[in-house]
């Protein structure tokens, strides 16, 4: 058995018993990367030497009795999170040479835990995309079928976990960017409650929606990773000062007495029959484990995508104004005037999808259009929040598909941005409402592509999600099924 194929909790047991060393484990992951990365292309930047040095430091701590569950565990980090001295591109040419002078809060936590950071995972540029095809560097392949997209925007993180090119990964989720690639690559992904995890050092896309979260090989690993990154941080004024529960304690057998809401609008037209069958089977499995399923309604679901594609670009147009070529990032050194320098640096540095969203966002916020677009979308957002409040008063969690179809072929939607946007219809509302959501594998299509089921709950009810997901995982018995990389 290759060490790289195991989970955090399996490897932690071997590490603390000193049956393996962190160096052996890291070498196993690096060997796996050497063998398959040419096909998968999950990483933008690898840090082999840094990883081995961190592994040796972890071995010293483990020898001295360290019991942190992440000590010595090789992780992949979405390239949207600042890593001190290690290139952070956000998938964009505009940050091709950016060496962050500080670590993101979650990276500080990983380093303090003794984790091993293998490299920076590919992503859609500035986290804008659903297929990871909008990356200026590498377009990862789906490990289950190399001609399929891996999902986005945390596509490299999901592909790296699925292909055993790391043990677990971090991503970020603004409209489904953790849950959707997790679903398409057959791994577990959590988008925590807005404010649960510090975003200090996360390159901002849409600040009222962005949240950092884990992608892992099973639900227990997701609980371990969530534990490691959660908590208040004064440096992120949106981070919530609330106690962090023991998430692994939520992984109990049985879900007797729990009520799962089935939002009927999530099972509408456009839902692939194989996805629907796999998700309906997940409902039956949770019923067999003791849960009660009730139909609920989220009547404004169909307006989520439209509201999101005003709010997120509006926030992005403001956030991305900082990339002006003055203090960091790409500058057109040939520009003679300050104005030309701003324009040409941005024109040459940003890719087409980023430009599209900056233009839409600027337009939606412009004088005379603000009320018609941004204010209207923010009011619709309120209606979506109210839908969730009502539905979650009737149940512990909402169960639905993550994405309406399995992964599509590379290039299939690349020239049709609207079709790409609509593929996120079932994950976007979670972010608009700030709720936690989880994607758990629940089956494979006849084409051999993974299908995920989504659970959403009230703010700070991650424990309910983990308990339901854990029981689902136990009954579906999909953990350990590995992609063919063909």
């Amino acid at each position: 058995m290759e060490l790289a194929s195991l989970t955090i909790h399996e490897l932690h047991a071997l590490l603390v018993r000193r049956e393996i060393t962190a160096r052996q484990l890291t070498e196993s992951v690096l060997a796996r990367i050497a063998a398959v990365e040419g096909r998968v292309q999950a990483y933008i930047t690898l840090d082999r030497e840094g990883a081995l040095a961190q592994a040796e430091a972890a071995d010293q701590r483990l020898a001295a009795g360290e019991t942190n569950p992440l000590c010595g565990i090789p992780l992949a980090i979405k390239d949207v999170l600042c890593t001190k001295g290690l290139r952070t591109t956000c998938g964009s040419k505009i940050l091709e040479n950016f060496l962050p002078p500080y670590d993101a809060a979650v990276i500080e936590k990983f380093k303090a835990a003794g984790a091993v950071l293998v490299g920076k995972a590919s992503m859609d540029e500035f986290a804008m995309g659903s297929s990871n095809e909008n990356c200026a560097y590498t377009v990862p392949r789906n490990p289950w079928r190399l001609d399929a997209i891996c999902g986005g925007s945390s596509g490299g993180s999901a592909a790296a976990v699925a292909a055993d090119e790391c043990i677990a990964a971090l991503g970020s989720d603004t409209g489904g960017s953790i849950r959707q690639p997790a679903s398409h690559c057959g791994v577990v992904g959590i988008k925590p409650t807005y404010g649960r995890v510090s975003r200090y050092g996360l390159l901002a896309y849409a600040s009222s929606l962005d949240q950092v979260g884990p992608l892992t090989k099973d639900v227990r690993d997701a609980a371990i990773m969530l534990q490691a990154i959660s908590g208040h941080d004064q440096r992120d004024s949106t981070s919530i000062n609330a106690p962090v529960p023991d998430y692994t304690a939520a992984l109990v057998e049985g879900v007797a007495g729990m009520k799962i809401g089935i939002p009927k609008e999530y099972f509408g037209a456009g839902l692939d029959p194989e996805v629907e069958a796999a998700v309906r089977n997940a409902i039956r499995q949770l019923e067999a484990a003791g849960a009660e399923a009730v139909e609920v309604s989220l009547p404004h679901t169909e307006y989520g995508v439209a509201a999101y594609y005003i709010i997120a670009p509006a926030e992005a147009s403001s956030n991305l104004a900082r990339y002006d070529g003055v203090r960091f990032g790409y500058r057109d050194l040939a520009a003679d005037t300050l104005h030309d320098m701003f324009c040409q640096s941005r024109s040459q540095g940003f890719g087409p999808e980023v430009k599209r969203r900056i233009i839409i966002g600027t337009y939606a916020l412009s004088s005379g259009y603000y009320d018609a677009y941004y204010k209207k979308a923010s009011q619709v957002r309120t209606l979506i929040v109210e839908d969730f409040t009502k539905a979650l008063a009737q149940c512990d969690a909402l169960l639905s598909p993550v994405a309406p179809t399995p992964a599509w072929r590379l290039g299939e939607k690349a020239s049709d941005p609207l079709a790409m946007y609509l593929s996120d219809a079932l994950t976007i509302p979670t972010n608009l409402a700030g709720l936690p959501g989880i994607s758990v594998p629940c089956g494979l299509s006849t084409a051999g592509l993974p299908i995920g089921v989504q659970l959403q709950a009230a703010p700070f009810a991650e424990e309910k999600l983990l308990r339901l997901a854990f029981n689902l995982e136990q009954r579906l018995d999909l953990v350990g099924k590995k992609p063919a990389l063909a």
């Binding site: 002078p101 005003i310 003055v326 203090r327 990032g329 979308a377 619709v380 957002r381 929040v385």
Partner: protein, 64 residues
């Protein structure tokens, strides 16, 4: 871009008169902390990623 703007027009079928806009999903107000000076980046670190610097400032094309 025109198709995207046409698509978002669908929000107009909803009557939102009197609905309070949501700009922040959770019910939190201003987060204050004590005004205490914390360690920050040195000038050298802050300038390290500058495309053009002179050792103490970022250099840009002449403004006036």
């Amino acid at each position: 871009m025109g198709r995207i703007l046409a698509y978002v027009e669908k929000l107009n079928v909803l009557d939102t008169a009197g609905v309070t806009p949501t700009t922040h999903a959770l019910d939190v107000t201003n987060a204050f902390r004590d005004d205490v000076v914390q360690p920050s980046l040195s000038q050298q670190e802050a300038l390290a990623n500058g495309p053009r610097v002179n050792g103490e400032a970022f250099v840009v094309p002449k403004v006036i």
